[in-house]
Symmetry: C2
Subunit: 317 residues, 2 copies
């Protein structure tokens, strides 16, 4: 397969690039390096089957030129910061929604017919059903991030109908693992590295979340692409378990051998638009035979160890 990966130097994107190359595919990667790291694709760049283009998804001409010749697009580039949406209200619109339509326009122009898209469990807003299935009632969006991804999903589906494309839409829980550079484990690790004696926690620590290990996530994506023929396939990707933020804090502190005093901001949400409970029904992807290899606890611990071995990443943000 000749694959095009947006966000190829990012956390999930770079892991996917390595996997696709290992499987023998040709890969063109596209990244504006706003949060992606060249170091993450250092090994990939030594392969003759990998081509990297530094470019922005808002630059349609550059995007189209880079995509030429591809058979499938893995569209992973996004503004993935759910938390700071209200500080820059149109960032999600541009980087997630408009950027996605630009990807679709480039595909249409070039006749590229297949797209895999990283959506999010955040599209469910505050779901009325747990675990939350893919065919939940139409949600009311509570974050600009969720809204921008719901919007992107919608346009992808309309392009599939209008221009005979095929889409694989994946609604992720939070993803953890090697090259993880943002999210709660990152934030807590960074704080504890600087001040091991205390930890500031958004909300009351009782928010319930689910986390999936990045290699398990990539296994699922590739399995779905191989096995699903529908015009539009939508899959939740997560674990059949959740933890409290407090559980995760316990594992992180154990890994680091620290016992900080916990200072809670209070309230049942970490920020405006935070979802106090994320737990997705992943029976559809499991029905394809997919099984995750790491539990939430294993994923969190592995991520902490990765950050310890790569502490230069703490300087990224």
């Amino acid at each position: 397969m000749r694959c095009f990966v947006t966000g190829c130097a990012g956390f999930i994107g770079s892991n996917l690039v390595d996997r696709l190359l290992a499987l023998g595919h040709d890969v063109s990667g596209y990244d504006n390096l706003s949060t992606g790291q060249l170091s993450f694709i250092e090994e990939a760049r030594s392969s003759s089957r990998f081509v990297f283009t530094k470019g922005d998804l808002l630059d349609v001409d550059r995007l189209t030129a880079a995509m030429r010749g591809s058979e499938i697009v893995f569209h992973l580039a996004a503004n993935a910061d759910v938390r700071f949406g209200t500080q820059h209200p149109t960032k999600d619109l541009h980087q997630n929604t408009i950027a996605t339509v630009n990807v679709l326009e480039a595909m249409r122009e070039l006749g590229v017919a297949r797209i895999a898209f990283s959506s999010t469990g955040s599209v469910y807003g505050e779901a009325p059903i747990f675990p939350t299935p893919e065919n939940s009632p139409i949600p009311v969006q509570t974050s600009l991030y969720g809204a921008s991804k719901m919007a992107a999903e919608s346009f992808i589906e309309a392009y599939c109908e209008g221009f005979s494309m095929q889409a694989f839409v994946f609604r992720f829980v939070s993803i953890l693992g090697e090259r993880y550079t943002h999210g709660h484990v990152f934030d807590f690790y960074k704080q504890l590295k600087a001040h091991p004696e205390e930890l500031y926690v958004l909300g009351n620590g009782k928010q319930r979340k689910s986390y999936l290990y990045v290699q398990d996530c990539i296994d699922a994506i590739l399995m779905c692409i191989e096995n699903c023929q529908a015009r539009v396939s939508i899959f939740n990707l997560g674990l059949d378990e959740y933890c409290e933020v407090n559980d995760s804090i316990g594992w992180i502190c154990e890994e680091l051998g620290v016992r900080p005093e916990l200072r809670y901001a209070g309230g049942d949400r970490g920020w405006v638009g935070d979802n106090p409970f994320i737990f997705l029904d992943c029976s559809a992807v499991r029905a394809l035979g997919w099984r995750p290899k790491l539990s939430i606890q294993q994923g969190v611990r592995r991520t902490v160890r990765y950050l310890q071995q790569n502490s230069e990443l703490l300087e990224i943000r």
Copy 2:
């Protein structure tokens, strides 16, 4: 109330402007006159309580200046052509989604807290439930128009959560009545006016649709705004009945006294992304006490008579 109406010179917008003025409100209208008609707001412009600004929603500065001082926004401006979406793929993104975020940004900038939004039953794609309730399963979009409106709804909801706004989202069936300037009655009337002996019909004529009279639509909007306190209220607006396109053709021909030969394009859809069955569950808005005054048949017949009396409108498109 100091009201701001986008699309104020359009079909629904101009009727709403007249109603708001009749109720004693102050109205600022905004329209780029791309499809809106100055003649529709001729009477409104004679009122000292009406101010018109010609402007585009993609011009945020002009939009913000025009909105200043308003208490509520009625956001009706849109690209309402479902049918030709695939001929100009990014038009819906710009005129429906980005335009809506611009409205929200102007509101945020000015501290305007309430918005009523004209969404569409098209957001349900090909619904799995009839009549289709507001809390249907998350749909798969089948038109760029539906996608762009779903996207707009999503951003409106996120702004409500993030910036403490209040929204009233109305998912319309097709609207008919005075100043109606596009849609099947318009198309059929125009054809029959030119060639009364034959009528070309998209699809097989068996598509089932629902149509609501514009004054009934406005009654519902105003009733919801007056009675709903929730941060986000979402209502289907339609009738508890549907008709076949063939029924509608019959009424139109009766009104015109013509008996054309019907030529069907065939297939169960009028165009790519057409929805062969639209029938919304409107029990939520009925629970507020709203009752439509015209049936589908009455609405269609009244619209034909209006077009007969205003045949200069046939030249619009």
